[in-house]
Amino acid sequence: MVSPTSSAEAASSASRNGKHSVQEVESITIRFAGDSGDGMQLAGTRFTDTSAILGNDIATFPDFPAEIRAPAGTLAGVSGFQVHFSSNDIHTPGDILDALVVMNPAALKTNLRDLKKGGILIVNTDAFAQNDLDKAKYKVNPLEDGSLAGYHVVRVAVSKLNKEAVKDCGLSPREQDRCKNFFALGLVYWLYERPLEATLKWLKEKFGKKTELKPVLDANNAALKAGYNYGETVELLPVQYKVVKAKITPGKYRKITGNEAIAIGLVAASHAANKTLVYSGYPITPASQVLEDLSQPEMRRHGVKTLQAEDEIAAIGVALGASFGGAIGVTGTSGPGICLKSEAINLAVMTELPLVIIDVQRGGPSTGLPTKTEQADLLQAMFGRNGESPVAIVAPQSPVDCFDITYEAVKIATRFMCPVFILSDGYIANGSEPWKIPDIAKLPKIEIVHATGPNSEGMNGAVHEHAEGEGSGAGKFLPYKRDQYLSRPWAIPGTPGLEHRIGGIEKQDVTGNINYEAANHEHMVHTRWKKIENIAETIPELEVIGDADAELLVIGWGGTYGSITTAVDRVRKNGKKVAQAHLRYLNPMPKNTEAVLKKYKKILVPELNSGQLCWLLRAKYLVPAEGFNKVQGRPFLVSEIEAAIGKLV
């Protein structure tokens, strides 16, 4: 089934008679690590695609340095890409590594602690000269001092072997060296019995179109095959490992990252709503990719309008202006950008216009850890503005869920005329998993009704006590006359007869006229809250999985879903009872949240912050929730959560 392809013909004929054996395993976690210039992200992505195509379930975790050009070979410049592939359903990129590929000493130093004892360590021995060791601050060569004794070290002269393989392709020495990631990739393909086909096809599509790129194509092909053949020929390891197909729901699949899913979700939602999507952002890690994706020529075909604004304030202004004009206005950023947007978010709260705000969270405060993940903007989204400022908040629980949650955010924003926060994070934004391509016919509709004529008939000020006065007579347009959910009409400029003025000053309910009266202000503050609470009428209830009758409930939100779910599964497999729930809607929370929480004696809230959801749950529902917190810019390890649960059951 899983056999090397034609590309490895020479090798495959020699292979199956081998002395080495093939061992079947359930899952493998591997990390490619090297200097940022070593192409580790690319090697990891190709490996992921190949594994996905083979039918494994996959989850990835790219980890790159904050500095694009940290000096080569230094600890600060190390870039890694982790892939977890399995014959089972998996939810995380894996805690500990079964195998680690390191291209230089710096990569060894920063990644070794994640390799399991006895794990496979593939080392590019060509990069361990004295100056390489100095840059990585090794006093003695770790390949020689016995410090790697606990691992299965595989020494390969990757640079030399690669050079030899590609020397006739017509590249400069420097360019030749840049193929070494494909040599390493070929080696790893051999180790895990993966075919080269998909990667060769990818190379052909990427470099096969232009003749001047032929040397690049040839060299990468050669490096990949040489790596594979080398593994085979020298019997690199006594065993090859095999991970068979996972039992996955039949259908068509592709791989997707959280950021990609957000971009696609926005455009799909704009189709469903039959509206133009206007997206404005200012580049910031880890959110830039959404703006990049949406500005592609492909997206122009969908009528997507993008504007790279001068700053985050401008970006949200553009999005809000677009919403006023009847489009789907969206802006995206990370924490520092949210700080800048807060005043305009409040303008959206006051003017009650639809707006989607994406926050791909990263380590904070201030510039913090730009490339690392954190879930620390929940309370900022909830309360981080002047005055009482209710907004809707949703959070995707996985890369794939970014699609659904984004679609949902557009729906809520347009139905309830309010800003909706999407709290994604760096971990799911860059991480990827297989995505079952949705059935278009089953995508929910997004129905938008615009005001088309006066709405004051029969009112006579009766709808609400503050409605008397001018403007409430028949035949007028009342921009703040509300429906059953307290949502106001969306009248777009250009519609005759509905001319009206909106702004950030407090307004009279119903008429929308400026109003500074005490009672009206209190009424409006309450109305804005109530409107957001009404969203709970339209969202799914909180689901409890695992043992509903357990004593302990583990509840989380956002991108930690995978680690929490895996940890709960493991504890349950050990015969302990645990219930689990995950909040995708944070404001409002599902209607039954309180009822669910009150059923459990103990509540554990794992979060990548110092306890923000925990704080909200305790404040809102007076329940004895306890936090399990990690604020290291890194995702939870399953084992960490497992241990925390273990203490309570």
Binding site: K252, A309, I437, G494, P496, G504
Partner: protein, 339 residues
């Protein structure tokens, strides 16, 4: 369907039921009145007009116009107006801003909206003071201006709004003054007719906190000697007796007396159409009392707008590969089937 003539708008049609709350004697009243007058002639129906403003006395403007309106937040009107323009190509969008709103807190947005040539008509009500917050100096206040926050005199060099607009590549740039109702109305009409980012500085008197800063430009007895009204293709002549002009001496302008220092043919001739910003820059830097200050249209030329080019890209990509379908969104480098 038979074409129906546009109903003619009157100033009253453009008036809202909201009480106007500016101080008596404020220059904003005149601008509001001339705006309504100007808009009755531009041939755009009321529902297609939108006024977007920031925060300040001037930014209350939208509440008094019976059109669509958005009173946004301090300095950000250009951004909201940009989004509105992207969403809707056939509105006539006016942005009303003040010297603090547009040049201090919102200076960055102003620069970029002009540079992108978004089709907006931006009016900067320059009273050289923060009116709404009751009298602090602004980025256009002259050096030495005493104000609530500069009792001992402002220490800052004022920004020249038009020099900034030129540097930001605005495609329509003009200056007028609140009390010259005829010139103000014409300037608004010209701005309305322009396609692209139009920027108009209006000298506006703040009766309460900066009264008389513009006296030299509004007082009948002296203004003719202090102002130069430029017109495209005409020599630059000014003065009560129309006997003074502007001549170029090397790279510097100088005031000359016609008949004495030179003839009319020696004077600078105005050109608002040229895409060379040199002349406009030079005019924008002429400041009294050494020079007359220049009113009129500095620049007016056509260049594609951001939104036009964006629409063209969309049309282009659709022409090449067809309109995007939902299914296209799901395509990827690698798609596999699980059976």
């Amino acid at each position: 369907m038979a074409a129906t003539a546009l109903p003619t708008l009157t100033a009253k049609d453009l008036t809202t039921d909201q009480e106007v709350r500016w101080c008596p004697g404020c220059g904003d009243y005149s601008i509001l009145a001339q705006m309504k007058k100007a808009l009755t002639t531009v041939g755009v129906p009321r529902e297609k007009m939108v006024f977007v403003s920031g925060i300040g006395c001037s930014s209350r403007f939208p509440y008094y116009m019976n059109t669509y309106g958005f009173h946004t937040i301090h300095g950000r009107a250009p951004t909201v107006a940009t989004g509105l323009r992207l969403a809707n190509p056939d509105l006539q969008i006016w942005v009303v801003t003040g010297d603090g709103d547009g040049l201090s807190i919102g200076g960055n947005h102003l620069m970029h909206v002009l540079r992108r040539n978004i089709d907006l008509k931006i009016l900067l009500f320059n009273n050289e003071i923060y009116g709404l917050t009751k009298g602090q100096y602004s980025p256009t206040s002259r050096t030495g201006t005493p104000s609530k926050t500069s009792k001992t005199g402002s220490l800052e060099t004022p920004i020249r709004p038009l020099t900034m607009a030129i540097a930001s590549e605005a495609t329509f740039i003009a200056r007028t003054v609140d009390v010259d109702v005829k010139h103000l109305t014409e300037t608004l009409q010209k701005a309305a007719a322009h396609k692209g980012a139009a920027f108009v500085e209006i000298y506006q008197n703040c009766k309460i906190f900066n009264d008389e800063v513009w006296a030299y430009a509004t007082d009948k007895s002296v203004k003719a000697d202090n102002l130069l009204y430029v017109e495209h293709g005409k020599p630059m002549i000014f003065g009560k007796d129309k006997n003074k002009g502007i001549r170029l001496n090397g790279l510097t302008p100088e005031v000359v007396e016609i008949g004495k220092d030179c003839q009319i043919d020696d004077l600078l001739v105005h050109d608002e159409k040229t895409d060379d910003p040199t002349l406009a820059t030079l005019l924008s830097r002429m400041v009294g009392p050494k020079f007359p200050e220049v009113l009129g249209t500095y620049r007016s030329f056509r260049k594609p707008c951001y939104e036009e080019m964006l629409d063209a890209q969309i049309a282009d990509n659709i022409a090449k590969k067809g309109k995007g379908q939902v299914a296209d969104l799901f395509k990827a480098e690698d798609v596999w089937t699980v059976e």
